[in-house]
Amino acid sequence: MDPDELEFLGEKSKIMIIPTFNKENIHLISGDLGPFRASLPSQVPLWVATLLKKQKRCKIIPPDWMNVEYLEALKEQEKQTSGFTRMPSDHYMVEAKLLLDCAPDDIPNADEVKVIIKDIWDMRMSKIRSSVTKLVKNSDFYAAVDNLTIMEINSVRPILPHALDNLFRMKHIEQPKPSQNSNVSSFLMSKRASTSFQLSNNEDY
């Protein structure tokens, strides 16, 4: 999947805003929005929040976790454990990126928040990388991927699933046994076509 697609998914998460305008309910396929009353907090999807913010028609209340103390603690925790810590949001990277992008004035210490989030991201990415190589190298049977967010999982695709698929195929291409049947049937049974390594679709050709 493209990071842009993941961003699209992440934009559905809810966030509180303080609108600066009055408006009745807005009816959308994904659900109703509003009603909006000026200076009364209201919950909207992230994409609406960024849209309104760009039009300067609302003030965004940053999520609880988007403050320096909490993130520092999270970073420390991430540093201590060898596994992955649970992130406050499944789309923390998308939320952080969009909010820091369009509403740095609504987030206290936006610059610091930005830096800490990047540090956490980098730490987690290097953990992923080392555990992936370990997984393939030592032929472990499973890998614990608790608490990984969708964006991070996507960073090892497609190489990891494709590599594991091919390892599986190499392991399981059968050793042909001495055929007991007649010439013709063994000819038909020969598994020739099943050993074609092919990864991407035919657009390469």
Partner: protein, 201 residues
């Protein structure tokens, strides 16, 4: 990034056709009448028993499955003991591309010619130990374009997909008014140089 045709028997798979073009050394197990012209060094009408010749894999595959074998195939030299030792020593240092374009694919075919069944483990181990190199390469491919030249076709395909995905992710991370970037202190700290700084600048 579809993996749709990976498992289906694909008759027209170009990879497969190219891999099975490879010639396999064989010993003729019984005299084949009227096929003497295959062996250019003899003038006989029949292909004599005991002749050692190379036949393409697609032919050997079909001929060897019968109960009375016509050909006795041998392992190609790159899968033999001496080459396996080299791969065991350090698989990453080997230029697979030069050994064979379709190293893994061909290996999966010819491993059935190996009585002791060592080739099977050898190609799997080779893939395993080269995987780390592959993933590092995909993450910072600018570092050494020469290493890419030493990948087998399968690895090259994996590399290309991984590299494309990596580039997309980097673009996403950097494409915004305010780039989320590491602290100066972190950047200056040598150990963390891995994040793609070249592209940030």
């Amino acid at each position: 990034m579809p993996l749709s045709v990976s498992y289906t028997p694909n008759y027209y798979s170009l990879e497969d056709i190219l891999a099975t073009q490879e010639r396999i050394p064989c010993r003729v197990a019984q005299t084949i009448p009227k096929m003497g012209h295959l062996n250019s060094s003899s003038v006989d009408v029949d292909l004599q028993e005991g002749t050692v010749m190379e036949f393409p894999l697609w032919l050997v595959n079909e001929v060897c499955v019968s109960r009375v074998p016509i050909l006795n195939p041998d392992l190609p030299k790159i899968y033999k003991e001496s080459y396996r030792e080299i791969l065991k020593a350090d698989a990453c240092a080997v230029d697979l591309h030069r050994l064979n374009l379709h190293f893994y694919e061909l290996g999966s075919y010819v491993k059935k010619f190996d009585k002791k069944n060592d080739v099977h483990q050898s190609i799997i181990d080779t893939f395993r130990s080269r995987f780390r190199q592959l993933i590092n390469l995909a993450d910072n491919s600018i570092s050494d374009p020469m290493v890419q030249q030493r990948l087998d076709t399968l690895e090259r395909k994996l590399f290309n997909d991984a590299y494309k995905a990596r580039v997309k992710l980097n673009i996403w991370l950097e494409h915004s008014a305010t780039v989320i970037e590491a602290a100066n202190m972190v950047v200056n700290h040598k150990k963390r140089k891995r994040i793609n700084l070249e592209e940030l600048l």
